[in-house]
Symmetry: C2
């Protein structure tokens, strides 16, 4: 039996790092909030995917207003977020059905490609886990007690989202106590002893965290719209 | 006595990863080869900096033709490269004067900011070494014997160029036998037992290695030109 495809979009940003009052995910690119671009990317991949949007409680009204104003038609269920990313994902997991494949994706990664989403779901269907990674282009240094040291960059990967998992496995993982080492969903699942399957991400799939990222995302979305 | 400022620009690219016949560094952005943008960045920082350009032997004629065609007026000395980056830098070091501060910079990083170059020279003047780094935005995984594992990304930095060193120290470092672990100049100097001083790089300072990077660099250079 085919599993139900779910995507939990986590949008917890408070705009702190961007030094603006608007939460990052509500900033408009090409006349549309970043978060709408992100939801649309998943709908482009599969028109029937079930979308769960996790938002800070105090942003839910503003989001619903934005949806009205933009006549945003992508169906999604809204869930109130928790104190941090871990608890937000946990809240999202409470509403998923049984026998699901669940993608967890950063709300501020609007440039994920259809191919990346597809690769993650395909591999997670086979292996139970799949996350998109890319090779670092730059050299990498590790901070040490005495300063820092060069490390072999071919042994490292940069991790993106969506991170896709078997639904039951993911729920079990998020049943664990929170640890500050949980920086993404893979690290939570890994703490169960599960192996994480790595698949190819796409370079454009940046996480918008600084003004530079925002400029870059604007340019990339503009050029994508011109091509299509 | 103030040390002489030198920048060795290493341009060894064969265009392999870009799947084009034109060497990466000769590809034009806004009507000008990438390498000219790079040399200009150093001249903007200091009009009197001595520029040494290390080029593969079989590209020197083509480069000189390009300089004529573009009436390129930034003074620089050309040195023939070696079999790999290590030997190319080594060749460049043979022509530097005594009592110098030497920056080594990738020819395909045209977007280095004046501020980044300045920070590196200032700190290297004090400490003998300085390299620009930025924080990774994404989670990082390390490849292991059995698969991969999540690591604490706050312990890692992504390394850029220019990497600036006391000239005598750098020459001594490049007197060592080549090791495949030498991925940048810092790793070569570090093998002497020297500590590497880390300074803030700039996010735009990307190394152009893929078609995506090229598109990105075009956009960034275009928007910079519009502002200035």
């Amino acid at each position: 039996m085919t599993k139900t495809k779910i995507a939990i979009i986590v949008a917890g940003g408070k705009g702190v790092r961007m030094q603006t009052d608007i939460p990052k995910q509500f900033i408009e690119i090409q006349g549309k909030p970043i978060l709408m671009h992100t939801l649309e990317a998943f709908q482009r991949y599969d028109a029937f995917i079930q979308l769960i949007l996790v938002l800070p409680v105090d942003q839910i009204n503003a989001w619903q207003e934005l949806c009205k104003r933009h006549s945003f038609s992508v169906q999604h269920q809204i869930v109130a977020g928790g104190d941090n990313r871990f608890h937000s994902v946990k809240n999202g997991l409470e509403v998923i059905p049984a026998n699901a494949l669940v993608a967890v994706h950063d709300g501020v990664r609007p440039l994920v490609s259809t191919e990346t989403i597809a690769r993650c779901f395909e591999e997670a269907e086979k292996y139970g886990t799949a996350i998109p990674v890319i090779d670092p282009v730059d050299s990498i240094r590790q901070i040490t007690a005495n300063g820092s040291q060069s490390v072999d960059r071919t042994l490292y990967k940069l991790v993106q989202t969506p991170q896709v998992f078997d639904g039951e496995m993911l729920k079990k993982a998020y049943g664990q106590n929170f640890s500050p080492l949980f920086t993404d969903d893979a690290s939570v699942v890994e703490a169960l002893g599960e192996e994480i399957k790595l698949v190819k991400g796409n370079r454009e799939n940046i996480k918008i965290t600084t003004g530079f990222d925002l400029e870059l995302a604007e340019i990339l979305i503009k050029s994508k719209n011109m091509k299509s």
